[in-house]
Symmetry: C2
Subunit: 373 residues, 2 copies
């Protein structure tokens, strides 16, 4: 794929209802354009889940980004990486020389009232919100003997520790396994500190044709797919097969395997999510993700760090902005600009996001991108 | 551009709250796939304004359209044509052989309660909803002596008469100019019958590489652009410059001029909208759109019919579905399949949609596509 990342930028990730979507976008986009050393783009793809109609032109026009194709895209939690996928495809296929992929979400203002499921939302109406879906995966893993409660908690301990080195993260902290397990129950066996927080934020990526600059990061592949219909008889946890198949295609397109990857930013909306995802990405056998995190191999200082930014659990999860923030983190890592959380010698990085529901009528989607090298 | 339309399909356009978005999508997509003679697509772009997050996989998965990239896109009233623009670009640039562009909106259920503007929506909070914006254009045209009340009403008379030949239209009717002008005032000088209705509907287009089939319609160009910042000192009506510039690029890319076009589907959300748009598209000089419609030239039987489907005013305006429905109508016209509303000998058709707000901080977007020939 002949596309490269020329620049990245993000807002802080926090509960910051005093800032509008436009404020968050302005911070992220200005930083990304300055980082790329450019003043304009030819098109913009803007990922958001709950942004009101018109959010993309409304936020970009005040920055003088006008008179170009501007498209808002939604793909649940993968909205940001879907925008990045479209941006990479448009550049790699020759439609544009330089475009913007942006993600933004103002979660605190959107969810300030009571959350009432839509009548047409079978999952919401039956209580099968996302914590419940992930809790079922966790219960299955526990029942299989594939993970322990302590191993799940270790994901949260690791990612909160990583976030201590990330000044833009929402909740860094030096937690113990006991503190994680004794936090408030949300959806058994998941406790509060095993669930991503509500976050406001924006993140931007300038994607363009390779120019050969020293700080430029090649996009080696970026695959997107919607999932299959959910088959409740499957032996696999939710998302395992989809992430595995998308990753296999992304690795093949990039000409790499899991052992070649130095750093990962993955979708740890819940602790069990990171465990299943690291397995699907080939870092461990199925059922081996718990031991993997316990081994320290996926912590900064280990051989293949996962979520050095703090991940969704600790950097925060402003839905539409998460994917482009993951891309920004990997770019900083591959350039050696990640300061206290730097993964030494990182040359190849992977971004993975999964969004959506799980039932037979709803659907999920995943994006896997291979960057650098 | 090396893309062609292989098939189209739509639901009925009506107030039909008993049907879900999934029901409407199923009707439109099944018809489009059957029309194309295919069973699958490689990617799907789904335009909607108010569809809830996840609407695209949720509605497509139940049709067995799974394990492909599915992207929801929003671009105000141009959401459907934005999906079509992405679909054409993806095929023409070689990313896919065959994809789906879909639009869907369930307006009656979304707007069943009181409509309260978002606090961040400066236009809504100040009463500058879209009827008001169009009413200001109408007032300016009246003040300039560029249009008469009767000429504006004639747009509604024409499009309601056209819709009598369209069994899927919401409100066909044999209206008089007096009936239009004496209907309830909405935003002076616009009356009820000069405003598009609330509509539920879906429309789908299968876009693929040219196969040379007899019923295939070439996409000669499809341009999308966001507007400039609104300059209140301009002498032009809202949208005139944006539509004109996008049309100029679309015509140039297709190698045609306005005189070469046999049939138009344009964004007549309000009567004055069609008048300004026909001028911007080059069918008349600026200020000559009123005389144009009065002359009968844009009625079926005239030299360059505009909105033979009935347009947004009469077919209805389910926001995200409008653009793909416009494409479907032009395809039927170019194939000679438009029955009672057939434009004789139509070989080249144009679709135009404009969406979004008008103020300095909001933004509008327009799509112009040239089909056939």
């Amino acid at each position: 794929m002949k596309a490269a990342i020329h620049g990245v930028g993000t807002s802080d990730f926090a509960k910051q209802p005093q800032l509008s979507a436009g404020d968050l976008v302005a911070t992220a986009v200005r930083e990304a354009l300055a980082d790329a050393g450019v003043g304009s783009v030819e098109a913009a793809y803007v990922g958001t889940c709950f942004g009101e109609p018109g959010i993309a032109p409304r936020t970009l026009h005040r920055l003088g980004i006008v008179e170009i194709p501007i498209v808002t895209v939604e793909n649940a939690c993968a909205s940001g990486t879907t925008a990045f996928h479209l941006a990479c495809g448009a550049v790699a296929s020759g439609q544009y020389e330089r475009v913007l992929a942006l993600g933004v979400e103002t979660m605190t203002s959107h969810f300030s009232g009571a959350i009432v499921p839509e009548l047409t939302d079978a999952e919401g109406a039956s209580g099968m919100a996302l914590p419940s879906l992930y809790a079922m995966s966790a219960s299955r893993y526990l029942a299989n003997g594939w993970v322990t409660l302590e191993q799940m908690a270790q994901v949260s301990v690791k990612n909160h520790a990583h976030a201590l080195g990330n000044p833009r993260a929402q909740y860094g902290g030096a937690l113990s396994v006991d503190e994680v397990l004794s936090s408030r129950p949300i959806a058994d066996p998941l406790t509060l500190l095993q669930c991503c927080p509500i976050t406001d934020g924006a993140a931007a990526v300038v994607v363009g044709r390779p120019r050969g600059g020293a700080r430029e990061v090649p996009v080696r592949s970026c695959q997107l797919s919607s999932g299959a219909l959910w088959d409740y008889r499957t032996d696999h946890a939710w998302g395992y097969e989809l992430i595995g198949s998308v990753a296999a295609r992304a690795y093949e397109a990039a000409g790499i395997g899991p052992a070649d990857i130095d750093v990962f930013e993955v979708h740890d909306a819940f602790t069990i999510g990171e465990i299943v995802t690291t397995e699907a990405l080939g870092l461990a056998e199925e059922g081996g993700g718990g031991e993997l995190v316990q081994s320290g191999r996926t912590a900064i200082g280990g051989e293949q760090p996962v979520n050095p930014s703090g991940g969704l659990l600790s950097r925060g999860h402003p839905l539409g902005a998460t994917g482009t923030a993951q891309v920004a983190e990997v770019v900083w890592q591959l350039r050696g600009e990640a300061d206290e959380r730097q993964v030494a010698g990182a040359r190849v990085g992977v971004v993975e996001t999964m969004g959506g529901g799980a039932s037979g009528v709803d659907g999920n989607a995943a994006v896997v991108a291979v960057l650098g090298g």
